[in-house]
């Protein structure tokens, strides 16, 4: 069963919840090797996203057709204008590029892979980071690799997202021993080793929410109750 705009909305609302729950944890990670605001930054951004989704739901006529890309574009512009910091433009660009390749009502497994590839490409090109620099790129890249493999093996949308989420989670943990060479943590030099990168962790949360939203399936009534 292909994924639609409602899935995208569930994904985003679940991300908002996951970020709210993990806010202090993300902030603590950022406090160790950054400036202690990553949790607060993302939380501010995703709360704004939820508010705009609510507004949009209230305004939307029953017959209006939405694409996956419509939802992701709303996320992109909202994060861009409310998060700030490094993660604002990075996530903003990720969702913007993902929106560009998902201007469709339904997306299948290969299209899900394309969404993740576009997001990775957005982050990497904006941040000029590559794998191994202890950034969210590490999580996105692992997710894309795993998603491509799962889709190549003929996996469903859920399979692809599950592979991506698990790989991102592992990759986030994998940033612990790394020495950062991009972003604020790079100023610490060797002292950045031994701590997980907050952006990689939040990427794992984002992808975990995507998988959970696909697993939970469509809900008929108020999209808020599905969150």
């Amino acid at each position: 069963m292909a994924l639609d705009a409602d899935w995208a909305e569930r994904w985003v609302r679940r991300t908002a919840d996951a970020v709210a729950d993990a806010k202090d944890e993300l902030t603590e990670l950022d406090r160790q090797i950054g400036d202690g605001d990553h949790g607060e930054n993302l939380h501010r951004g995703f709360q704004a996203v939820v508010a705009r989704l609510d507004d949009a739901a209230a305004e939307r006529g029953t017959g209006d057709e939405r694409t996956v890309g419509d939802v992701l574009k709303l996320v992109a512009t909202t994060l861009m204008s409310t998060v700030g910091g490094a993660s604002g433009p990075l996530y903003g660009t990720a969702y913007l590029r993902a929106a560009k390749v998902s201007g469709r009502v339904q997306i299948d497994s290969p299209a899900v892979v394309a969404v993740l590839e576009a997001a990775l490409e957005g982050v990497a090109s904006r941040g000029k980071a590559t794998v191994g620099e202890k950034t969210m790129v590490d999580a996105w890249q692992a997710a894309v690799d795993a998603a491509e493999a799962a889709s190549g093996d003929g996996g469903s949308e859920v399979d692809v997202l599950q592979a991506a989420a698990e790989a991102a989670d592992k990759a986030a943990t994998g940033t612990i021993p790394m020495i950062a060479t991009k972003g604020r943590a790079s100023y610490l030099g060797e002292r950045s080793a031994g701590h997980e990168d907050p952006g990689a962790r939040s990427t794992a949360l984002v992808l975990g929410a995507a998988m959970a939203a696909a697993l939970s399936g469509p809900t008929p009534a108020d999209p808020r109750s599905a969150a």
Binding site: D37, N41, M80, T82, G85, I179, K182, Y187, G189
Partner: protein, 331 residues
């Protein structure tokens, strides 16, 4: 950590509202999106100067909006760079038809957000140039980092570029002056105790009773080295020597010496640091021609200080001396 705040989420907005009332002769504060511009609006025919970044460094940047310095400032959340939708209207408000120079401290967040805003401004047919301030010599191997950070040297860039714009320089000329300041300014800081971000409520890093962090930035980030607490003279040597070495100062040169407080250290201690730094420079045969001592580029209530040295030439010296009338810097 107690603070004189209401809802931490409103910290920046509440503070700017008070700032706007206290300095209505100098500035206007726009809320939603938040930016600060000159009370009189853009000066026709003058290059506009815009800077910004995370809040928590007050008086930087809003305190430097006014005659002879910035035309607009864009404060983000505490320690978080502002967003493009704040920066764009600030650029528009600063544009007097001669183009706008954005002065950006070199942090990934600031760079990315300003980059995006500048793209939008250019689409809006505003001529925009940008400079990146990266004066922090604590960031040693800049090949393996996001590059050196921008810290207290930013004040010198804003003051001197502001004077260059004021005397009628065009965008290329003002940008060149700003680049010259950046090429000749270096800083290094120390923390004795960490600040606490309002919404976090506890210190940004943990420091023992007899430890200090050397090579800190201005966001409560941990520094490069943690060393045993030492005397002011010793600490000043740890700050001044790398700065002077990196600038490759030679006998006979003239400099501006700027001792900056991080927010929570008494002014009296900053003068102790200044005295020692000055003697160290004089021992190198370097003349301290201009001085500034005070809390200008802070990190909330962090205890500590930074030492900034700017190599002067006749033009930079004259531009530094040019009149300035802002909330925080005035002569």
């Amino acid at each position: 950590m107690k603070k004189l705040l209401n809802d931490p989420a409103d910290a920046v907005a509440d503070s700017l509202a008070g700032f706007a009332l206290a300095h209505a002769d100098l500035v206007r504060v726009n809320q939603m999106p938040v930016f600060v511009s000159r009370a009189g609006g853009a000066v026709t025919g003058k290059v506009g100067l815009v800077s910004g970044g995370g809040s928590g460094h007050e008086p930087l940047h809003a305190g430097f909006v006014g005659d002879g310095m910035l035309d607009a400032a864009v404060p983000g959340s505490v320690f978080t760079s502002p967003t493009p939708d704040q920066i764009l209207p600030a650029i528009q408000a600063a544009d007097g038809g001669a183009g706008v120079l954005t002065i950006v401290k070199n942090y990934t967040g600031d760079v990315l957000n300003f980059e995006t805003a500048v793209e939008l401004a250019v689409e809006d047919n505003i001529e925009v140039a940008s400079v990146l301030v990266n004066d922090d010599v604590a960031v040693e191997d800049s090949l393996y980092t996001a590059g050196r950070r921008g810290v207290a040297g930013t004040l010198a860039v804003e003051k001197i570029a502001g004077a260059a714009a004021d005397r009628g320089g065009d965008l290329a000329g003002v940008t060149a002056v700003a680049e010259r300041v950046i090429a000749n300014v270096r800083s290094m800081g120390v923390a004795l105790a960490a600040p606490s971000v309002p919404h976090v409520g506890r210190p940004s890093f943990d420091l023992g009773d007899d430890e200090i962090e050397v090579g800190i930035g201005i966001h409560g980030e941990p520094g490069r080295h943690r060393v045993a607490a030492a005397s002011a003279d010793e600490v000043t040597e740890m700050l001044l020597n790398p700065v002077a070495d990196d600038l490759a100062l030679v006998r006979g040169e003239r400099v501006l010496l700027f001792v900056n407080g991080m927010g929570g250290t008494p002014l009296s201690e900053l003068y102790v640091v200044y005295g020692r730094a000055r003697r160290l420079l004089e021992e190198r045969g370097v003349t301290v021609a201009r001085s500034l001592v005070g809390n200008y580029v802070t990190s909330l209530e962090m205890q500590g200080a930074s030492v900034t040295v700017l190599r002067l030439d006749d033009e930079l010296e004259a531009l530094w001396d040019a009149p300035v009338n802002t909330a925080a810097l005035r002569w």
